[in-house]
Amino acid sequence: MVITYLEAIRAAQAAALRDDKRVFIYGQDVGVFGGAFKATKNLAQEFPGRVIDSPISEDAMIGMAVGAAVSGMRPILEVQFADFSTLALNQIVNQAATHYWRTGVPCPITVRLPSGGTSGSGPFHSQSMEALYAHYPGLVVMAPATVQDAYEMLLAAVAIDDPVIYCEHKYLYYHLKADDLFTEPPVPVGKARIARAGRDLSIVTYSAMVHEALAVADELAKEKIEIEVVDLRTVKPLDTDSIVASVSRTGRLLCVGEAFPWGGVTAEVVARVASEGFNLLDAPPMRLNAKDTPVPYHPNLWAAHRPTARSIADAARRLLRM
C-alpha cells in the first residue's frame, strides 16, 4: 500500500467522521465535489449531511464553527487556501482563541489551512501563515511534515479541546508518500521528533522544509558531516526542550522556515535557544527563511525566494566553518 500525505488527510477526516458523531466538515466545495484538492473526496457521499459546502464567506465559516463547537460539535473547517484565512483571522484569533479563557467553555474547532508554496502559485496561493496564529494566545498550531503525522495530528486536532490551526503543506499533498500510515511510534502532540540523528549541527524546521533538510543531511553525510534534523510538528506549543536537547548534542543551530523572514517560527526558536541554551552553542545560531517579498509566480523566482536543499546546505556549511 502506498498512501500520500493528501490521502492521509482524507483518511483522518473519514475516521473522525466515522468515530465521532460530533464531527462535521464545512468549507467551500468540500461537499460532493470533494474539495479543491480532493481532501474530502467522497466524504459527503459516505457521511450524508455532515460535509457541507459553505458560501464564500471565510469570516462566517469560522464564526459558525465556533458556535457549533461551543454547543458541543467538533467542526473541521477547510479554508480553500491558507492565504484566504486572512479574512477569517478575526474570528480565529478573537472569537475562537479567546473563548475558553474568557468563558471557561472550550472551543474545539480544527481549521485546515492548505499552506506553503508550489511552483506557479504566486503571491496569494502560497503563503505560510503559522506565525500569525501562533502569535495569538489560545491556539494550537500544527504543521505536519510526514504522512503519519498528517493523519495522526489531524485526529489529535479534532480530539483536542482547543482551536487548532492545522497547516498542511500543498507541496507534500502528492509528492510525499509512505508505505503505510503507521511506520513510526506515535509522538504526542506538542513534542518534536528527531527526524534524523546527528552530532555536528541541528537543523530545526517543520512542514515541507523537513524534507529539504533531510536531503541536505543525506548530501552532507557524504562529507562525513552528521546533521540532526528536528521536525517541530507543532509550532505552538513549541517543544523547546527537544530543541535545546538537540543543540546540546550538536552545539550548532540552523533554523529553517518557508515563511517570511521577519518574526515567525525561526525567530522564536532562535530566541529561545539563545535564552535557554546559550552555553550550549558553539557558534552563533543561524536562520534561513523565505525572502522579504511576496511569494513570486515564476519558478525561477520562486526557487530563489524560499529555502531549498541547496541554500540550506550552503548555510549549514557556513555555520560549520564558524
Binding site: R22, F24, R50, S54, P55, S57, E58, D59, A60, M61, I62, G63, M64, A65, V66, G67, A68, A69, V70, S71, G72, M73, P75, N90, Q91, N94, Q95, A97, T98, H99, Y100, W101, R102, T103, G104, V105, P106, P137, G138, V140, I160, D161, D162, V189, G190, T234, K236, P237, L238, T240, R272, S275
Partner: protein, 337 residues
C-alpha cells in the same frame, strides 16, 4: 377581538416587560453613577431608550434558545434570565463573576445557558449563533431559535452580510434584531447606508423582514415575538428593524452632543420607558403606588447586589494559571520562566 385569555397573557407580558425595563434602566443608571465615581475600570455602555426592544428580545426567547446580546441589552439579558449579580460582577471585574475579571462590562455571557459572550468586533456574533443553530440541527434539537442583537452601524460590517447570508442559505431559525438608533457612535445613518430603510435588505438575502417603532413596548413585544415564532415554525431567518434613539452617549464618556435636536424631539426620540408606563397606566395595569413600589424594590435589589459585589475580592493574579488553552498539557512555558 382577541379571546380574553390572550389579552391577559399579553398584559401580563407587558407588565413583566415593564418591570424588567425599569430594573434595567435603574441598573444602567447605577453603572453610570459608579462610572462617575471612578469605580468602574473601563467604559460603561447603556441601553437607555432601547429597553423596550431589548426586553422584547429577551422575553421572546425560551430556555434552549440562543441569544447573542450586544452592548445595549441589559434589559434583554435580564429578561432571558441573567442574574443581576452576574452583570454587576462583570462590570466590577469580580473574580466570582462569569468572566472572572478576565473580561468586563458588556462582554459577558454563559454559553452553556445559551447566552454567547460577545466579542467587540461588530457583526461577529451572527455566524456564531448560526453555528449554535447548526449544532441544534445536528443533534436533533428542534424548535429552538437564535437571536442576535445588532446596531445600525454594525450592518455595514462584512460579518453582518456573511452571517445573514449564511443563515439564509442554511435556512436557520436566526432572528437578527437591528436596533436602528440613528447613530453608530457619532455617525448618523446617512453616512452608514444609502437605502431608505434597512428593511430593504431582507429581500436581498431572501429572508423575511419587519420594521417597527422600537420606542413602543407593545409593538416591540408583538413584532419581535412574531419574528421569533416564524423562525421557530421553520420560516427561516428573520430580519427585524426597530427604529428608536439612543438616549445617552455612546458610552458614559460621551455627551452625545452630536445627536440631532430634531430627532430627539421626534417620535423616535420618545423614551420607551415613559411610553410603556403611559400605556400600562391607560390600560389600568399600573398605578403610581405600584410604580413606586417596583422602583423601590429594584433600587434595593441593585444596592444590595452592588454592595455585595463591592465586598468581593478582585481576581488574584497569583491564582491565575495564565494559560488560554483548555488542554493544559499543551500550555507553553512562559518566557522567561
Amino acid at each position: 377581538m382577541a379571546p380574553v385569555d390572550a389579552v391577559i397573557a399579553i398584559e401580563k407580558v407587558s407588565v413583566k416587560a415593564f418591570r424588567l425595563m425599569l430594573l434595567a434602566r435603574m441598573l444602567d443608571d447605577k453603572f453610570a453613577s459608579l462610572y462617575r465615581m471612578g469605580k468602574i475600570h473601563g467604559g460603561v455602555f447603556l441601553g437607555r431608550g432601547q429597553e423596550a426592544l431589548s426586553v422584547a428580545s429577551g422575553l421572546s426567547l425560551r430556555p434552549g434558545d440562543l441569544f447573542a446580546p450586544l452592548i445595549r441589552d441589559t434589559a434583554g439579558r435580564l429578561a432571558f434570565g441573567e442574574d443581576l449579580v452576574d452583570a454587576v460582577r462583570t462590570y466590577l471585574g469580580s473574580g466570582l463573576g462569569p468572566m472572572r475579571g478576565r473580561d468586563g462590562n458588556v462582554h459577558r455571557g454563559e454559553p452553556r445557558k445559551g447566552v454567547y459572550a460577545m466579542i467587540s468586533h461588530l457583526g461577529a456574533m451572527i455566524s456564531v449563533i448560526n453555528g449554535g443553530l447548526m449544532a441544534h440541527r445536528f443533534t436533533g434539537k428542534t424548535g429552538s431559535v437564535g437571536l442576535a442583537s445588532m446596531g445600525d452601524g454594525a450592518t455595514s460590517t462584512g460579518a453582518f452580510h456573511e452571517g445573514l447570508n449564511q443563515a439564509a442559505v442554511e435556512r436557520l431559525p436566526l432572528v437578527l434584531v437591528v436596533a436602528n438608533n440613528c447613530y453608530a457612535y457619532s455617525t448618523p445613518n446617512d453616512r452608514q447606508f444609502a437605502c431608505k430603510t434597512l428593511l430593504a435588505r431582507a429581500a436581498g438575502y431572501g429572508v423575511e423582514g419587519v420594521e417597527f417603532d422600537g420606542t413602543d413596548l407593545e409593538e416591540s413585544l408583538d413584532k419581535v415575538n412574531g419574528a421569533v415564532q416564524r423562525a421557530r415554525a421553520g420560516g427561516g431567518p428573520q430580519l427585524v428593524i426597530a427604529n428608536l434613539l439612543r438616549l445617552c452617549g455612546h458610552g458614559e464618556h460621551d455627551d452625545a452632543s452630536y445627536v440631532d435636536a430634531d430627532l430627539k424631539s421626534s417620535a423616535v426620540g420618545r423614551d420607551c420607558l415613559k411610553v410603556a408606563e403611559d400605556q400600562l397606566r391607560q390600560e389600568g395595569l399600573l398605578t403610581p403606588e405600584t410604580l413606586t413600589q417596583w422602583r423601590e424594590e429594584a433600587a434595593r435589589d441593585i444596592e444590595n447586589v452592588v454592595a455585595q459585589v463591592q465586598r468581593e475580592p478582585g481576581p488574584d493574579p497569583y491564582q491565575e494559571d495564565w494559560s488560554a488553552l483548555a488542554t493544559k498539557s499543551l500550555v507553553e512555558t512562559q518566557w522567561p520562566s
